[in-house]
């Protein structure tokens, strides 16, 4: 078909965008905007996890923000309890969150559609309660590690102490995770997922262990959420139990759909909508809640005219231009 862009072109575009975000963006952004962009990158990563499960298996996971909270909790816990380098704590947080994500997927084996969405949303609600009850570690004593005033500090990676360097660091980690997802989609997992979403019977007949592949998708999604949470802990240094309400997962999921579920760029757009747009509105002296109205309109737009999301529209527009010339 004419509307396919070559792999080569897409690779170049992704690389240029990556280099821009690593080198140019941190250099030109002011202090406040560094924080905004860092958090946008982090939530783009979390959105990729939710959109992956949706695009590959058609399953809705509304607990992604809660998993980001889990990743953040583990990261802070490890920071104060151990002297592990940032990278190792990051990996451990991601791995532990991946296991939590895997457990969340167990209902997915029996349910789909609305019921699964509701079950994950209830799980997110449960985490919200846990976060409020136990708070996030800030260097206090005991397993929960909460003190009235933080006696310690969340360490950042050796190479990325400043906010600007930390933004570059987050972009690099996010890009690595996106590559991980890409490799999954291209390989055995992607083949299994494609068959499952076409027909589970067909997949089984081809020898695909449908349960394993579903669990796998959720585990990978949890891994991304955990990485995002750990990066967020490094960015903010302190996490607030009120930052991970269940409803935020719905918003992030909706934005991932608006951005485009099947593509990394869709997740980036979701991150921008989720964090940059409200900040821009704020900057203009407008109420940030206005963003919600914008998002609602964008979601309607996506559902009605752009099933592939904004990323899909940009892709097909550029493919169309190319085929026209």
């Amino acid at each position: 078909m004419a509307l396919r862009i070559s792999f080569h072109r897409r690779f170049v575009t992704a690389t240029v965008f990556f280099l821009f975000c690593v080198f140019v963006l941190p250099a030109i952004a002011g202090a406040i905007w560094l924080k905004v962009f860092t958090s946008a990158v982090i939530f783009a990563l979390a959105a990729r996890g939710a959109s992956l499960v949706y695009a590959q298996l058609g399953l809705v996971n509304l607990a992604q923000i809660a998993l980001v909270g889990v990743g953040g909790w583990v990261m802070l816990r490890l920071n104060y309890a151990t002297t592990l380098p940032f990278e190792l704590s990051l990996l451990a947080s991601a791995a532990i969150t991946a296991i939590v994500g895997m457990l969340l997927s167990l209902p997915a084996m029996r349910m789909r559609g609305l019921y699964l969405a509701l079950v994950t949303l209830m799980a997110a609600g449960a985490f919200q309660i846990l976060f409020t009850a136990f708070q996030f570690p800030n260097g206090g004593s005991g397993f929960l590690g909460v003190a009235m005033q933080s006696p310690g500090e969340m360490r950042r990676p050796f190479l990325a102490r400043s906010d600007a360097a930390y933004l570059s660091y987050c972009v690099a980690v996010t890009a690595l995770c996106m590559v991980l997802v890409f490799l999954h989609e291209r390989g055995k997992a992607g083949r299994g997922w494609a068959l499952i979403r076409q027909s589970e019977a067909n997949a089984m007949a081809a020898g695909v262990d449908v349960t394993l592949f579903k669990v796998w998708a959720f585990t990978l999604s949890g891994f991304l959420a955990g990485t995002a949470g750990a990066l967020l802990a490094g960015a903010l240094r302190l996490l607030d139990s009120k930052s991970f309400p269940a409803g935020e997962s719905i918003l992030l999921f909706a934005l991932a759909i608006v951005g485009g579920a099947g593509h990394w760029a869709g997740a980036v757009i979701a991150g921008i909508l989720y964090r940059v747009v409200p900040a821009v509105l704020n900057d203009f002296g407008l109420d940030a809640d206005l963003a919600l109205i914008l998002f609602g309109a964008a979601l309607l737009h996506a559902i009605i005219t752009a099933p592939q999301g904004i990323a899909g529209q940009i892709l097909s527009a550029s493919a169309f231009r190319r085929s026209a010339t």
Binding site: G192, L195, Q198, N202, M204, A205, G207, D209
Partner: protein, 238 residues
């Protein structure tokens, strides 16, 4: 040898299979019968998609019914489906490769097996075409290649000839006949095309309303009065 004993399947009030017993040892066996006779249900029982109410299936001493569908596939039981469902985004090569993804053999070996299966069904030049760009005959052939790629023991084909033209049906005939010699698998073939059954199957099972009404050498079975009556006088031979 596939030994099917007393298999009974009921869907609510419908008896889809009524105490079916058959021993299958030929290279290619046909399964025919009018619409709703229970042909697909029999294949679903063998491949694990329908759990029979009673009966057993034994293949060379293995109780097949204890395995889940994907384990049966990995054990060497391949099947195609009456309704085509091809994942549109995967290339032909990847659609076939799925059948090998559970194996630990080296990549070069897998590539070779894929090449051989595609060559066998005549799809070599479409290796990189996406599933969504295939016509229905090409989709059928991709499915057969997937069935063959992991050196199966048994291949169950549910109406692979559905909607094929004259030359395509001829190619399918050759393919089915050669499966045993090229891949070593036994074939069970469901089809409404009696010419295809006659050309490929040494023995044929005839089902009607869930009952096995005939099982024997294809020619004998097709001349059977009861079989001709089951086809409502359409006379499968004419």
């Amino acid at each position: 040898m596939i030994r099917i004993s007393d298999i009974t399947v009921r869907f609510g009030g419908v008896v889809a299979l009524d105490s079916i017993t058959a021993e299958i040892s030929d290279d290619v066996i046909g399964i025919i019968g009018p619409n709703g006779a229970g042909k697909t249900t029999l294949i679903n029982v063998l491949s694990g998609f329908v759990r029979p109410e009673a009966g057993s299936v034994d293949v060379d001493g293995l109780n097949l019914l204890t395995l889940t569908p994907f384990r049966r596939a990995r054990w060497g039981l391949s099947r195609s489906f009456q309704k085509l469902q091809t994942a549109a985004e995967l290339s032909v090569e990847n659609l076939v490769r799925v059948g090998l993804d559970h194996c630990s053999s080296p990549n070069a070996e897998k590539d070779a097996a894929i090449g051989r299966a595609l060559e066998f069904v005549g799809l070599s030049r479409l290796r990189n075409t996406k599933g969504g760009d295939l016509n229905s005959q090409q989709q059928r052939m991709t499915e057969i290649a997937r069935c063959l790629v992991n050196s199966p023991r048994i291949v169950l084909l549910d109406e692979p000839g559905g909607g094929l033209g004259e030359t395509e049906a001829e190619a399918l005939r050759t393919i089915i006949t050669d499966i045993r010699s090229s891949f070593g698998a036994q074939v069970l073939l469901i089809d409404h095309d009696v010419d295809l059954i006659r050309a490929t199957c040494s023995k044929t099972i005839v089902l009607d309303f869930g009952k096995l009404i005939a099982f024997g050498p294809t020619e004998t079975v097709l001349r059977d009065k009861m079989v001709q009556a089951a086809y409502l006088g359409q006379g499968p031979g004419q």
